[in-house]
Symmetry: D2
């Protein structure tokens, strides 16, 4: 055996939580005010090398998921967390599952001091986000998980969200954060509009195929299935356990707000307007998302061509994986991880193909991709803190 000593690798800096002896003491002295290294209970408030991250809207599911993922991030520390309606409370009162960590107490966004913060994840509701981001200091790097900056055409925003856009200048600056597709742009971004979950699961397989002109852009039919966490944490009757379990629900048939985002991305790849059929279904599970996509191949194209193109497009990607021939992607395989698994199958109807892609809606479909993007903006390897295997 050749075990190295404890102190020689990542522990040399003294700020890891791994030393049980220190743990008790630190927990006792610690309030909610210090800069807390996420992956560490002991923390090291004087550490000069961690990125100081703020989480705006920490009491929802995407905010909570950002916190979970930061827990194993070696470079990001949580400087502040906001939740207006829960200001003053510890995070454990909102998410008991976070009680084992020492995290700063929740504060109101108006009380947040961003002078010691380097970057923020903005996990606020659609509609209110634009004003808030407009008011943030300019030194902050921002990854916005709402839909407020995803649509480049602000008239389209107005149409689908029923209100005028309140920060059109910021909209021009915002970069759409589909990492594998727009990596270079994201690296230089200050404000990233993190993609929606459905659009992520749809664009990752379709963009390369459309760019390569392998599929027709008419009659793209997307039958999407999502776990319930995608609907957020608001107490609505139709999201009660008894209303959801042991049943299946289509919703937003033909009018889901993710449609314009999907069509925007596909249109950009195609160089022309694209109209898709998109029907989402709520599945009795917490997490996970599958898009089953029915497409028509361009004349002369065979199923193998689609497969090879996808293989080629993603061969150097860590988080997008085209499975072996014939293997069906399963949501179980990505639960809790940042992966997107894809495969393509021949249809019984000649000339058509079926594409299946799966993601965890809260990770690659939200907080994981957001973290991937912030890594990229800040010059870190984009997979930092995202080395999770699925929890089956």
């Amino acid at each position: 055996m050749s075990a190295i000593s404890f102190s020689s690798v990542c522990f040399s800096r003294g700020h890891c939580w791994n030393n049980p002896k220190e743990f008790g003491k630190v927990r006792k002295q610690q309030g909610g005010k210090l800069l807390v290294k996420c992956s560490s209970k002991s923390g090291n408030p004087s550490s000069q090398n961690a990125v100081r991250v703020g989480v705006l809207g920490a009491s929802g599911y995407t905010g909570s998921e950002v916190l979970r993922l930061l827990a194993n991030h070696p470079q990001f520390g949580i400087a502040l967390m906001t939740a207006d309606r829960k200001a003053g409370q510890p995070i454990s009162s909102v998410f008991p599952h976070l009680s084992t960590r020492d995290l700063p107490d929740l504060i109101a966004i108006k009380d947040a001091n961003f002078s010691d913060v380097d970057a923020v994840f903005c996990c606020l509701p659609h509609g209110t986000t634009q004003e808030i981001i407009k008011g943030l200091p300019k030194h902050l790097k921002i990854v916005d998980l709402s839909a407020d900056f995803r649509l480049r055409d602000i008239s389209e925003y107005e149409e689908w969200y029923g209100q005028p856009h309140r920060a059109p200048d910021l909209q021009k600056e915002a970069i759409y954060g589909l990492t594998e597709v727009l990596r270079e742009e994201i690296k230089n971004a200050r404000l990233v509009a993190n993609p929606g979950c459905y659009p992520t699961s749809v664009q990752l397989p379709l963009v390369p195929l459309i760019k390569a002109s392998l599929i027709e852009i008419k009659n793209i039919i997307i039958d999407a299935k999502s776990g319930v966490s995608g609907a957020g944490r608001s107490a609505k009757e139709n999201l009660l356990f008894t209303e959801v379990t042991e049943g299946l629900n289509s919703y937003g048939v033909t009018r889901h707000r993710h449609v314009p985002e999907i069509e925007q991305g596909l249109a950009e790849a195609a160089g022309s307007k694209v109209t898709v059929s998109f029907t989402p279904h709520l599945i009795p599970m917490s997490r996970g998302m599958q898009s089953t996509i029915y497409v028509e191949m361009a004349p002369g194209v065979r199923i193998e061509d689609l497969y090879q193109q996808l293989k080629l497009s993603y061969e150097d990607e860590e988080f997008v994986s085209v499975l072996e021939n014939g293997v069906i992607p399963r949501t179980h395989s990505v639960k809790g991880t940042n992966y997107c698994l894809i495969n393509v199958f021949p249809d019984r109807i000649p000339g058509r193909a079926i594409i299946i892609s799966v993601i965890d809606n809260l990770v690659k479909g939200a907080s994981g991709q957001a973290l991937q993007n912030l890594n990229l903006i800040l010059g870190f390897p984009e997979n930092l803190g995202l080395h999770y295997l699925p929890l089956f």
Copy 2:
């Protein structure tokens, strides 16, 4: 108040289980040999008016569901139940939830005496059923819930089931039991091939639309979702709770055995060959099935035309219901019942429509429709014993 007396309505015959005083006594004397009135613990062995029903293969899910539905049937009594591997056991050892009823013990099919039996539900596995039905006495009315007599073209059977058909003569005699479509033929049948669950959920909405030439028969895309009970009760690793819960699984992509049955029914409606795209998905719920069907409307046809045609086709039907404009069918609404709920929606892609139909895969998709068919064969109102409201 004007309550009628206990004895004047359906209790006048003395054979109902409703008399608590009789209940205890009868339970004590009763063995497993008597003709037991399903809806009655007390039974009345000398009753001359009940139809005597046998259930072949009572230890699987469809068999068990037949038993459940018979429990409230005023005219059918259970004469015998077979389960070869469990012969000699009481049904409660196989289905503890049936322990509250006095039912005959399970026997091997070879030991069954059919001379006192009027009709059988055959709930045996595909493949073995043909031989067994071939060997049954000719006086029996038979509703077969397996796939063995569903495909009229026996070469197609051979192709999809990998073995030659062993009862081609019976195949010619068998009537396909899609009640609302083939009611008159079923009334005169001796052997009914009860439809599969997916084919039921697909044909009920599509057959009237195809017959009326309202939709194109090319590019019919069926994205189907089923509860796990559809996969039966065999102990397979991929059906374990831990493998199924909180996940989603596509399976049999392009090669599910229900495809030829669907295409047979649609081709008959169209008068020409039909090839469909069909992708089933396993949903983490016990029961319930939804088919989300994407179709192209014939030139000049509008969404209202589809809706009106379906309304018209099913206006006199009890078990097929076209919902009000805009209301999305939910599997919860049919759980435990024999209903099929349908609605039709405009697609974002001009000229296309989305049809959603839901059933309980074990009821309208199996045992309920089987009972509906036997009612019909025997001259009873077809809804007898099927007055269930859903268990949410």
Copy 3:
């Protein structure tokens, strides 16, 4: 075969929904105002023999469950349904699963005309029920599913519910509706206080054992588990699917409001004060309830004595069943039914026993027992309309 003709049994009266030919027509003429026979879509408004039932608070789970059970009741028809916040809506807007039945529209309770009503199920929240029942006409038979009349000692009500009792005179009149224990009293009741779900599952096994002095009344430890529907249908964050699924929650440790009701029933059996340990747990399932009860046997008593006593106490009961030796009751076995299954097991600790009882919290624990009680009050067999087998 000896099938009787359709018209000769319960169909002779012409009011059953079983005639498919009539079905369509009736549905068309029917509004929401008529007296609708529950088990019938066609109904027969002029029928003079049905009991006319009102359901107060039809938009909650127990109200909905009353509606489901009435669907197969041959003697009870629904005359009116109230739901103040949903007044004017059809029931299908509240419970889509009831859309297949023609039921009267929901009305506000203040608009209800009780002159044509014989009996009501009161499914309103605790606290508000007392005033409402106080205001009802005296000719009505009432089964109240709230907790408002369960505690005979109104000071105890005040202590546990935090408000004075507003109808102490009615409290004196009310009969506690634990059917198997208080059958004779219930028969003559005008107002029945229907037991809570936990108290039902606990008292049915314990009352006979305490009456027979077979167990000690000290150190009775009840570890109870319930499906989520027991918490009702209010939109609370902690009842969201994502908060409940795949997890377990103890709640109300030592302070659950069902405690005084349990202790009241056991004290009455014992003839002296009883204090129990009671800890409820929320299980990620919609329905079902199990009480695992740990007791000390009286000196000299053996496990067989407990078993024989329970067998004897319930041998003539239809809905309470003591299982065979060694068989563990399962909630699956009672799902959707009015049964209570019980068994008793030796503990490893000498002199102690473990008792397990299961019910469906919404049926025997609420609406089913309520119907059983109304049957009893009105002189019908108490199992009328309750012949359900479990939906596994």
Copy 4:
């Protein structure tokens, strides 16, 4: 901002998977034979500092969970994985969710070469494990997750497992791996018998209270609830989704095999024989375990004494946490993590207390504690690779 450079911390050694540029290349050259750094796809076969770990029985749930946890372990690499019935297959054929990692193919245990292996996790079934561990080379550190070495008294093993112990000498050597209780012994162990899930959840709260003589050792009543993964991955009918979902099952009443292990641990703390009441319940969830424990306090002891003792016992522990006064532990809060959360509550019955403890049965109840123990044996901080926050 003060982000440190990528190479300066744990990345200086060049063997982390974080460099996307290297990732593609390495994946292509890599077969299944190399020593793979778990937290790295790129790996670095020549690395001299990683501990080389073997996983025996990698195709079951505890084996799979060991793999998941190793994924973020900075010092342990997987040298080999065995699964006799699946030998020759890639792990992704057994656990599709592991397909995103490059891991060695499964081999038969007889073909394993242990000369380059430092330590093994033994995840094999009870009964066969003894012989296999007897045959392993003596240089290996072993953490055994089966029950084969947990009972110090081999006659007790014979009684509960129905066969004589086949390695009594090894039994004498084995150290019981309840980390927080036997840390010092574990540090020097070669063979650790990793505790069962139920015994872990019961002993952690009870051992300190018994040692401090705060509770009586008679009448300890344990009502335990477990997720289904605790039953393993064998294809049994009673573990099918349809049999488990929406229901509750007690099992092994009075005869569960974890009883002697629990009693052994409590007896050691008490210094005298202890007999407990133990009833496990299967809950429809994959993971999670709660023990609700009903105890009698010693004379004069108050609930606060229990609370303070537990607080004191675990104040320096990272993975055992006594919650704030009144807060109920929830299985959700530990899902996927190595935590045990505990709290204590007053009972209604004077002199009694209720203790609730929760763990993830597959982590602190199996693979997580196993990793904690191997960290300890090898001189690493015991929390290395275990920094997970729960996946709600």
